[in-house]
Symmetry: C2
Subunit: 499 residues, 2 copies
């Protein structure tokens, strides 16, 4: 490796250390920290963020990037070319926003979240609106720092899904909506065909922990490099590939929360754990595209976890651990019941996409000035009824339900549904390459799928955008059909219909 | 407050955030981190250390210190004067060591600890020696950065016990050794007078946890701002006064390990929790003198925990929780049995001091080149027999037992015994000022003592050195007699002898 690249890597290694340290501060805050530690933790996180930001956007980083770019030997598939390319793109973007704006954004996010907690508790959108106005105003100021995006929303989206543009998302989501709305309406007419009572009852938490421990171990949870803990809002975080931390929450009356939630976070964890060791302590050592990351969690949670083959592994264990009667078919059908409801994080696999389409449309319209903040609740409620056939009873169960907008996370939502689409494409390809995949999963052997995902997705870390990676691994752009095709096949099976 | 002092405080607040973050990295490593996280953690700790060091030793910090010093209003008892004085002393000291050396020290410490774990498990000193050589070599390089200390060991000692010199420690320890060696020899002749069988048996860990929870709550453990976790090598750490973390370990056959160990760490925790809020996010927000810190842990563990009055609180709870017969006198005498043994952390209150004197002598000789690393085991074993009358069976129970040297902590050990001496002095004064202290403790009321310690010790944080604080609060230098006097009175009572 050339001296110039060595020097760049040395600086980026320090930044990676700071990023992993920030991950620990966040993990600890949500799992371990005593409550009165909160204000000190907020200061520590802000300080670390400021120091990292200053180190990263410095002219020195720019000089090292330039020297490294000149020293590249031209092989496009090396680790070094993507390292320089991805880092330079982030560096250029990070330098655009003045640090006062960054501080304003951070402050507004903190204040906004506090106001949101209160407003949601009281289902009082009017009390929250000024904070959302402020977040939108700051997002627009942020957008104004850039001149290389076609529209305001593109600038925001690019922070969460690098390289993705709203035109592409809009086209995908229009197609997705066109498929899902009639599909769901049809399933609602046959809702008596699927019964999910087996999921409800009394399930001691310690038995649920045992079930989850067995399942995540099959998936690849490695106690020498992983942890699993409880958190109110579950998440997964990597402090490098050898220290992966996932969290879950438990519902004593409904074991699906803990089980499929853990499979979801374990899917994220496998991504972080599978990134090539050569990328350690570089900006490439974490997945960058949130859509790709979500494709992993949703593939494990929904496609594997709620699939017929693995339901045959789960059902007897659930039956034994909780002392109940349960067969594969009953479990499989129960966990795939389609049932429109108000809360996104509780939505089933089919309706979930419409929750996201709704949010994408509304936040795009607000950012681009086509919809006023004060008109959001009405727009939410009317569109929700149009897509999912339900009347929203109050804003707490509607426009106020998510933390994202209060925290200034605008442009983030689409990545959740993009994850479903990508999962559909990867699953289709993995299945084509491994014709015995279902048999292996039915036998509880998840290593083949994990290995395939590691080879085609995980090991690359942040080297490629979602579209680049798909082009490279499945020779296609992001598509809707593999996901909706998979979903219709499964739901036809579950409902005994020809969808 | 003047602008100059405000500006200094703003910079020091960022450094305090980094220090508390480093504390979290360390706490997590010893309580939560999966094993394979170790190498990434070593890098992260080294990076954070280097960044803190660079920020602290910068000319900018010097300029802020100078401006703040000029702006002081001359009241010597303010927070600002000690802030500037203590920070300037640390700044001058820290500027002497190059930042590369600081990073080398941190990295060698992390690597050394991992090697030590293995070496101790195999009782293989030869496997550990190269790591210790490296730590000694780095310590010598560090010493060479200074020209204002009389001897190499003084430079190292000053990092743990600011202002203390080895001549003073040597004199105190010579006096202590002169008292303890004959005292212990005499007690060994009467060892049949005290029976500690009540401490041994089968004590379920969950019951031990309950006992410890009750005891630390009496001491002042506050669940809204504290945590208690398990650790192989117990420690306490503050991430500011509102986030205090203590750890303990458990022995199912001997409840004293968990109980008195937790009281020890809780004593450290009370110090961190008791530091005045006005000192938050300054370099004064943690105890600086390790001797003072240890005085708090040992006072609570030994003087209170193993005292006759509190034994009357403990005995009935122990009896109930573990379903056994136990009275105050039996417990009190059992936990004060003097019994020379190999492992420092298991040593009784009387022999403990000799474990420390031994380490102080050896590390001083190694640092100053009078003893080779390879000759340490032999020197350890022969001196151990001389002081405590026992032949060391293997290095795991001898020279390899402690983590300190592996972690580059050289000059640290003396502070443990200094802590005992200071505890003796504080106890004598607290008792004189509160004649009913024994009665209060016998009633399980520990708040009066905690309040006294907070007022006279804790709230000051790092404002004063150990000697300065003692001079201020008990009008005396560090003395041996209050401790040995207290010890002889107690052991006379326990053994029915006139010592």
């Amino acid at each position: 490796m050339s001296d110039a690249i060595e020097q760049l890597r040395a600086r980026l290694a320090e930044l990676a250390d700071l990023e992993n340290t920030a991950h620990l501060l966040q993990w600890d805050q949500q799992t371990m920290m005593p409550p009165r530690g909160a204000s000190g933790r907020a200061e520590a996180r802000a300080t670390l963020e400021r120091i990292s930001h200053d180190m990263f956007v410095s002219a020195e980083t720019g000089r090292l990037l330039e020297a490294a770019a000149a020293a590249l030997d031209g092989s496009p598939d090396s680790d070094e070319a993507p390292l320089v390319r991805v880092t330079r793109r982030r560096w250029e973007k990070a330098r655009r926003g003045p640090s006062e704006l960054a501080a304003d954004l951070a402050r507004a996010a903190a204040v906004g979240q506090e106001a949101w907690v209160q407003a949601r508790a009281n289902s009082d959108f009017a009390a929250f609106a000024p904070y959302l106005e402020r977040n939108i105003e700051l997002a627009r100021l942020y957008v104004e720092c850039f001149d290389d995006f076609e529209c305001a929303y593109d600038t925001l989206l690019d922070d969460y899904e690098p390289g993705m543009r709203s035109a592409e998302v809009g086209a995908l989501f229009a197609e997705l909506k066109g498929e899902l709305v009639p599909l769901i309406a049809k399933l609602c007419e046959s809702s008596d065909r699927v019964d999910d009572r087996c999921l409800h009852g009394s399930f001691p938490i310690d038995r649920q922990r045992q079930l989850v421990a067995e399942v995540v171990e099959r998936m690849g949870f490695d106690p020498s490099a992983w942890r699993i803990d409880d958190a109110v809002h579950p998440f997964a975080v990597g402090l490098g590939a050898s220290d992966v931390r996932i969290t879950t929450r438990w519902d004593e009356t409904y074991f699906a929360t803990g089980l499929y939630g853990a499979m979801h976070e374990c899917g994220h964890g496998l991504y972080e754990a599978g990134i090539a060791p050569a990328l350690a302590r570089t900006p490439l050592e974490h997945g960058e595209s949130l859509g790709l990351h979500e494709s992993q969690s949703r593939l494990w949670e929904n496609v594997v976890g709620r699939g017929r083959p693995f339901s045959g592994v789960l059902a007897p264990r659930v039956a034994t651990l909780f002392g109940m009667e349960l067969d594969q078919d009953t479990l499989y059908r129960a966990v795939n019941r389609v049932d429109p409801s108000f809360i996104r994080v509780e939505a089933d696999e089919a309706t979930y996409g419409l929750h996201i389409v709704l949010r994408f449309e509304l936040e795009q319209e607000v950012v681009e000035g086509r919809l006023a903040v004060q008109d959001l609740p009405e727009a939410w409620n009317s569109r929700f009824e149009q897509y999912l056939g339900l009347k929203v009873p109050d804003d707490a169960q509607g426009v106020l339900q998510d933390v994202h907008w209060s925290a200034g996370l605008i442009g983030y939502f689409p990545t959740y549904a993009i994850g479903n689409l990508i999962a559909g494409q990867l699953w289709e390809r993995a299945h084509a390459e491994m014709p015995d995949l279902d048999e292996r999963i039915a036998a509880g052997e998840l290593g083949a799928l994990r290995g395939w995902l590691r080879k085609h997705v995980h090991r690359h870390g942040a080297k490629f955008s979602a579209s680049e990676l798909l082009q490279r691994e499945v020779e296609a752009p992001i598509l809707v059909r593999p996901f909706t095709g998979y979903l219709k096949r499964k739901l036809s099976d579950v409902y005994g219909l020809d969808l």
